[in-house]
């Protein structure tokens, strides 16, 4: 996935990727990533968990606007099935 991300960024469109295998992402070095130690097939979390899915997307957008060093991976503090998303304050607005 990182290879596709690199190609898109190279074409002039800013990108951010979610990764669940940190080791691969460290090697492929796409421009901006957020890492979740979550099971395969669940980059946005659990089915039907709107608040959780939303939190991941907003963190991805935060990474898009804050990462300034190419290849940075941000480790998110969301533990699988052990994080309370209800009380988190959502990030934003997203401006350069």
């Amino acid at each position: 996935m990182g290879l596709v991300q690199r190609a898109i960024e190279k074409a002039g469109i800013p990108t951010v990727g979610i990764t669940i295998v940190r080791d691969y992402t460290e090697k492929v070095r796409p421009p901006r990533s957020i890492f979740l130690k979550w099971p395969f097939g669940h980059p946005l979390g659990e089915p039907g968990h709107v608040r959780q899915q939303r939190a991941v997307i907003l963190e991805a957008f935060r990474a898009l606007y804050t990462i300034s060093e190419p290849g940075t991976i941000i480790d998110l503090p969301f533990r699988w099935r052990r994080h309370d998303y209800e009380t988190d304050q959502e990030p934003g607005p997203f401006v350069p």
Binding site: M1, V4, A11, I13, Y24, K27, L44, V50, I57, F94
Partner: protein, 173 residues
């Protein structure tokens, strides 16, 4: 690749879901492509509430009428499928033997979060959701890596440019 081998891959994928510790052994066995080239970089210059946002996934999602990804080649399938945001929710299928997609079949948003992006468009968090998104199968290796790097990834990048997309979120499986 035989039916038995495909069955084995799917069985391993299910086992990994139930015993996540097993995943480390499989990821350690695979060596991703490493580049000597510097990481490409494009500066974000628009506020998000004026950006057209597209998704690119490697979760093997496609429309039911599209040709499934080739699961018989051990090097994977480097091709991609354009995804129509307006209709995918009602006619999607997932062709990918290397992860357990039973949860994604219940809720597409865990790999392709179009409903969440639409909500964010309504709230004014993002400018708009692109009409077209792009899907790969991932798990690409050997000779198909070159096809991906030289052909299909640049083709998708070009298509996103034609679609006047301002920012891309990539989701794995």
């Amino acid at each position: 690749m035989s039916i038995l081998t495909r069955f084995k891959h799917r069985l391993i994928a299910r086992l990994i879901t139930h015993f996540p510790g097993l995943a480390d052994r499989f990821t350690a066995a695979y060596q991703p492509w490493e580049s000597g080239e510097p990481t490409p970089w494009t500066t974000v210059c628009k506020p998000l509430n004026r950006c057209r946002v597209a998704l690119v996934t490697t979760a093997g999602v496609h429309h039911a009428a599209q040709e499934p990804f080739n699961m018989h080649d051990s090097d994977g399938d480097p091709s991609f499928r354009p995804i129509d945001a307006a209709t995918i929710r009602d006619d999607y299928t997932i062709t990918h033997d290397y992860y357990d997609h039973s949860d994604a079949e219940q809720d597409l948003n865990i790999v392709l979060p179009l409903d969440r992006l639409r909500e964010m468009q309504q709230e004014g968090v993002i400018g708009e959701v692109a009409e077209r998104h792009y899907s790969f199968m991932g798990h690409i290796d050997g000779r198909h890596l070159v096809t991906l790097i030289k052909q299909s990834a640049p083709q998708v990048a070009e298509a996103l440019r034609r679609d006047r997309v301002d920012a891309v979120l990539l989701t794995p499986a």
